[in-house]
């Protein structure tokens, strides 16, 4: 079965209860990828990463190697690592941070070597208290072991890594907001262009920003080579990927599966993965790729978990989250709660997002409470159109960052897929699900 045949690239150690310790890491091949990388030239390491076409695992899916090659020659660039996982129902970086911090650190040193960065900042979501402690302990061990710090493994390459705690703000997962936050400011996304921090990043200097899962792949790639990685998956979606499965499934959790060769149905129903919907109930809708993504219906279950395959059907793999909603779910309530999240997390810079999120939430709230009006559905879609003109996918943007244009996804999905359910709320003056 394809679901279980692929090697585990980033979750190979999770069976060990002490997977986060240096001893276990070294016993299981840890830091071998770094030793291999340091025996190569930085250009060779960068070329090897480019060859695997590792798509970023943070949400946007941009090729990691391309980000690196955008750095112009110049002053010492910074590497910033995004461990601020906050997209609702996404909990895979959290797992890597708590359970395999050395793998992240090794990936950081390999990347820093390739781009010749002198300093790396690992930005960890503030709410991950245990994760922050595990990463700091691992970093202390890595300095002691000579894998980080001065003259790493006698190579002459030196790198300092600083673990930086966030303080609770979803928007800081957006890379330019993260840089602002790392500079000690409010997490306000920066105006684009420049589109990439490789041009102007931390403190105005060239900066590469990569996600925790993305970099966790690098030790394996160095040891096993680019061909072994690209042999997995298909098309642009190479390798394996972590999927965070949540909601109405028997076994919610994080699963590493081969890209494209695995389908949503495998993920939800395979006994080794989600194990099906509780009580034998039916799938009503699934949210692929985080709450910014348009929803799928049961007819999409056989779609492969590939970046382009999902994009062609009008949604995205995004952050690697998959939420299953069964036939007992009130979609108005689901759309309301997601919209409420965006209202609470809007940074407030742009009017369409700051004001629109509040209006949308209040209208959805009154529909759910039974005081909605016939005209509310059109009003919702009209407001969505102000946020993302055309309410199409990928969305048109009216705001500095994509938070604003992500708000319509759940509302438009809910109305387009389950219009009758919204109308019943209005007509009967309440939620049929109680």
């Amino acid at each position: 079965m394809t679901v279980t045949d692929a090697p585990r690239i980033v979750t190979s150690r999770l069976e060990w209860s002490d997977s986060y310790s240096l001893d276990r890491y070294l016993d299981t091949g840890g830091y071998e990828g770094l030793r291999k990388a340091l025996s190569m030239t930085p250009e060779q390491v960068a070329t090897q990463t480019d060859a695997v076409s590792l798509l970023g695992r943070g949400g946007a899916g941009f090729p990691a190697g391309r980000k690196w090659s955008m750095l112009r020659k110049g002053p010492v660039p910074y590497l910033v690592v995004n461990g601020d996982e906050s997209e609702p129902a996404t909990f895979k970086d959290h797992l890597l941070i708590e359970r395999d911090p050395h793998q992240i650190l090794e990936g950081i040193v390999i990347c820093a070597y390739a781009i010749q960065a002198a300093r790396a900042f690992l930005y960890i979501r503030g709410e991950f208290a245990l994760g922050l402690e595990r990463v700091q302990s691992a970093l202390n061990e890595a300095y002691e072991h000579g894998a980080v710090g001065r003259d790493i493994f006698g190579s002459g390459f030196s790198l300092d890594i600083v673990v930086h705690p966030g303080a609770g703000a979803y928007i800081c997962g957006e890379e330019t907001a993260l840089l602002e936050s790392l500079e000690g400011k409010r997490g306000f996304p920066r105006i684009k262009p420049p589109y990439f921090p490789a041009a102007i990043g931390l403190y105005g200097e060239p900066t590469v920003v990569n996600n925790v899962e993305t970099l966790s792949n690098l030790p394996w790639v160095m040891v096993h080579g680019a061909e072994a990685f690209t042999a997995l998956g298909a098309g642009r979606s190479t390798g394996t990927r972590l999927f965070a499965l949540a909601g109405h499934v028997e076994k919610p959790g994080v699963y590493e599966v081969e890209m494209v060769k695995t389908t949503f149905r495998d993920l939800v129903y395979d006994p080794a993965l989600g194990g099906g919907v509780p009580g034998g109930r039916e799938v009503k809708a699934i949210i692929p790729g985080g709450v910014s993504a348009p929803w799928f219906g049961p007819q999409h279950l056989d779609l492969p978990l590939g970046q382009d395959e999902v994009a062609e059907q009008g949604s995205m793999l995004g952050s690697g989250s998959v939420v299953v909603m069964d036939d007992t779910t009130c979609v108005v309530r689901a759309a309301w709660r997601i919209t409420r999240f965006f209202r609470r997390e809007s940074c407030g810079q742009c009017t369409p997002c700051r004001e629109g999120s509040g209006w949308l939430e209040r209208i959805l709230r009154r529909i759910e409470d039974g005081s909605g009006q016939d005209s509310d559905l059109d009003l919702l879609m009209d407001l969505c159109d102000n946020l993302a003109p055309g309410v199409s996918w990928p969305p048109q943007q009216t705001t500095i960052c994509v938070l604003g244009s992500s708000i319509p996804s759940s509302i438009a999905s809910g109305i387009r897929m389950f219009r009758d359910e919204f109308l019943v709320h209005v007509k009967d003056g309440g939620c049929p699900y109680g």
Binding site: P88, G149, A169
Partner: protein, 209 residues
Amino acid sequence: MTERHLSAEMRTRAEELLELYPHPRSALIPICHLAQEQDGWLRPEAIAEIAELVGLAPAEVLGTASFYDMLHTEPVGRYLVAVCTNIACLLRGAYELLDHAEEHLDIRTGGTTADGMFTLEEAECLADCGRAPICQVNHRFFGDLTPQSFDTLVAELRAGRHDAEVPPHGTLVRVRRQGGLRVDEDTIARERAAMSAAIAQRAGGGGSS
């Protein structure tokens, strides 16, 4: 020079943090966490001292801190109980759990118990959805919750049975940084050049055997 509010130990740790960054302002949030470790919340006196440490006006520190959910400019209880109600937890009974928590603690969401032990918050997704519904207590996770297991958790917290893994509110990271470079950029550049030369020699095949 105003009287110092941060303890000598916190002051030392704050100064260590300042050294980690090319620009002092980057240490603002980590130092705010330290101040919360000392006081449980961000007191105005702490904000004034942080401003002095990072070279800003107190209003700039407050303006930044107030953006972030974890930085509290008003007192909170010894235990900050944050119940997640976002989509993954919602689908598994989070609002029923939050209603129960309000009833059991006899406070509304956002409130603090009269004895100052518990503050209840409704949280956005905390990235532990495999065990939904979940809550955090001082940012430590408790999952697969039911109303009964929530009551047990509260009783155990009151009895101090989670003291080892759940420190009082404000203490975020109990592991201190050890090691690290304090090398100036010129030294790094010189080492880089030597390394590049060695790599070039190896690549050229004319090097040592």
